[in-house]
């Protein structure tokens, strides 16, 4: 089956990202396909490479990057939500005159159309949020 995942909450405050991660791993372990993982609302904060959690805690951002690299996942961050919350890649920095970037490896910034497309293309779109 072809899945997509929507994550609406940021890391650490809320369990949504953790649950989504465990779900994504299980989906892949069962031999299913993940078409896309889309980050919206505070979920875009899962994509900053500047987080430094305590060493004995899980690193949620790095975990997503690693899962994406190992499984060639498409991790998409909503551009409008990212702009509001300061998640920036090089293109966005240039466009909006920012002096830094913070997008973690494996993520890309794009529009909400990517979420709708995920809904159209996937058998199931599963939301993790409040």
């Amino acid at each position: 089956m072809k899945f997509s995942i929507l994550i609406n909450e940021g890391p650490y405050t809320h369990q949504a990202s953790d649950s989504a991660y465990q779900f994504a791993k299980s989906v892949l372990a069962k031999g299913h396909e993940i078409f896309r993982i889309f980050f919206y609302h505070d979920g875009v904060n899962n994509a900053t490479r500047l987080t430094t959690p305590p060493q004995d805690d899980r690193n949620i951002v790095n975990r997503w990057s690693k899962l994406a690299e190992e499984n060639k996942l498409d991790l998409v961050v909503c551009v409008a939500a990212a702009q509001r919350r300061g998640i920036v890649d090089e293109g966005e920095a240039k466009r909006n005159g920012k002096d830094a970037t913070n997008l973690a490896p494996g993520f890309r910034i794009s529009g909400l159309g990517q979420l709708i497309e995920a809904g159209i293309q996937s058998d199931r779109l599963v939301t993790f949020g409040d």
Binding site: N8, Y40, H41, G111, L112, I116, E117, G119, I120, G129
Partner: protein
């Protein structure tokens, strides 16, 4: 393009959190993709449709008008949970747009018919 039935489920008050505003953005994009879009309002989400948002005092951009503009995007299926309205002392007259008010069971049936349900 494949047309699927998308339902955005709105459960939160309009300005306490950003969910209502960002849900509207998803609605407009889904409509731009010519999908079969419907909106459900339940719990505090029914407050999103209450007439007369006044946001000056909280220094936030009001978006009541966007609900009125949905028709221009061919988004006309607005479903409101009767119980949620009643629990908050509201009736259809308090709402800023025409909606279909229905029981929870009926709303559940509509949800069952969807291909994609997005809950905000």
């Amino acid at each position: 393009m494949t047309i699927k039935k998308f339902m955005m489920v709105n459960r939160k008050a309009p300005y306490g959190t950003v969910y209502a505003l960002e849900s509207l953005e998803v609605v407009l994009i889904a409509a731009a993709f010519e999908q079969d879009v419907s909106l459900a309002f339940l719990d505090d989400g029914v407050y999103q449709l209450k007439k007369g948002h006044q946001t000056k005092g909280i220094e936030m951009k009001g978006f009541e008008k966007t609900y009125g503009a949905l028709e221009d995007y061919d988004v006309t299926k607005l479903y409101v949970d009767q119980e949620s309205l009643a629990a908050r002392g509201l009736t259809a007259d308090d709402l800023c747009v025409p909606v279909e008010i229905m029981s929870r069971a009926e709303l559940g049936k509509r949800m069952e018919e969807q291909d994609v349900v997005l809950s905000f």
